[in-house]
Subunit: 284 residues, 2 copies
């Protein structure tokens, strides 16, 4: 497979009949060209997915790897209250990655691009030793309405969008569900929001540091079937949303209350009054 | 260096005092947030730079690798007639990449970000075996004015922005110069434009395929000092601009005429009447 043949194949895999007046040029030129919508801010997130770091070839199909790679980016868009629109997907292929494997990756991407109306508009292709995918997702959000990490205030209630620890308990094999619709509902409600990629303890710590506040969690922490409390707190890769909402506002359906934002040393956490270590998944 | 310490260091390396009302949030949240300028289309390009594929650690400093990684993306923006604005830079660090090396990479990026007023607004950090950089550059161009590859027409003159083959002749060690200002001047002049990353023969072939035309080149092909004609035609990585301009329009200063667009089999090339093979650098 030479570069041109591969790009042709990718153009086939990513072809769409959807009309999009805001996409002026997709794959095939030096750059993709977008015409921004009026009244919107744009969101950008980028994630690496690398063989033997984020997945093992023997344990995961190309479809799963593709799905999970794109799901991470969509989850970041959900965490900002945004709507995903476009993706740039770059592939550095290892010697073992044949054309069928590449097709399977794009099948995995397609499971999400079709559901969430995301178009793949560009990328780069090259080779390396360990298969490497870099996914950039571009989203839109009404002007000024993006949910940040730094707005949590004393007294805000802390919520998560589902039980935690399931990814760790299941050996990180599940397909995470990007919480796009919930993120959209949180735009007018939440003071801070992020997605849980590295575990509740570490991610809540980060949200509190950015907001200059502390947090007091209370049992029970919602725990996925077969997951331990340690997995729920520090297992990572659950991709549920973590958010803070002032007590006077009604939380959207489906959120689970887990505690309250407090004054105190920025980033300090407690669980049932005991100090909680901000331990989680740290990829470096 | 854990993830948080690395991100802190990167925030220091990329800190700027430049005011930018269009950048709502940079590094540190789930996504970067941009507010598009009125009347502009946005351009997106992404490039991998990988150890032992695009550079060798023993032969290139971190500063050089950083410079060259970002220069490729800026060159793509120049090829569309755009102005570079922002970059997302993702790093997968190899075991040998220490904090000093990362600082050197950012020094290399800074040589271009400072000259061209580009701000690094996000990225991802992880680890892998071979150092891997993915650079996304976001540019702006007046609405509808982006230069494409598909507009060349019979009779248009073919130009390049400088002598070719210098990168190959010099062992691919030079610092390419992104032709941002020239790209801007070409907006109202060129019918098609691209940057020469893979060599004149292959890249002109691609431009002709996209435009549905053929091309007749004439000697002398401008050749860099110490470069052979073969290197000028197929050496790649010169990052000069290749463009087509109708004969009635005055080309901007500095362009060198090399031939004319003809009717004929799309993508067919000749040099002084003899068929020319579209051979070049193909990374797959």
């Amino acid at each position: 497979m030479n570069e041109r043949a591969l790009i042709r194949a990718i153009q086939r895999y990513t072809a769409t009949t959807r009309r999009d007046d805001n996409l002026i040029a997709g794959i095939g030129d030096d750059c993709a060209i977008l015409r921004p919508r009026r009244g919107e801010d744009l969101l950008f997130t980028t994630d690496f997915v690398i063989e033997d770091v984020h997945f093992r070839r023997a344990q995961e199909s190309g479809v799963e790897t593709g799905y999970r790679a794109l799901a991470r980016g969509l989850s970041d868009i959900a965490a900002m209250g945004g709507e995903p629109r476009y993706a740039l997907i770059s592939l550095a292929l290892s010697p073992w990655a044949c054309e069928n494997y590449v097709r399977d990756l794009y099948r995995g991407f397609a499971k999400l691009t079709e559901r969430f109306h995301v178009q793949i508009i560009g990328g780069d292709v090259t080779r390396t030793e360990k298969l490497t995918i870099d996914v950039v997702v571009i989203g839109g959000v009404p002007r000024g309405k993006a949910l940040r990490r730094n707005g949590a205030r004393e007294g805000d209630r802390i919520y998560v969008s589902g039980p935690l620890g399931g990814a760790a308990a299941g050996g990180y094999k599940q397909r995470p569900e990007p919480r796009i619709e919930l993120g959209r509902q949180l735009r007018a409600k939440a003071t801070a929001c992020m997605d849980l990629s590295d575990g509740l303890a570490l991610d809540l710590h980060r949200l509190c540091v950015e907001s200059g506040v502390a947090a007091a969690l209370s049992s029970p922490i919602p725990t996925a079937r077969r997951a331990s409390l340690a997995q729920a707190l520090s297992g990572g890769e659950d991709y549920e949303l973590l958010c803070t909402i002032p007590p006077r506002r009604q939380p959207p359906a489906g959120l689970i209350a887990i505690g309250v934002i407090t004054a105190g040393k920025p980033g300090a956490l407690t669980l049932d009054g005991q100090p909680l270590d901000p331990k989680g998944w740290d990829p470096i």
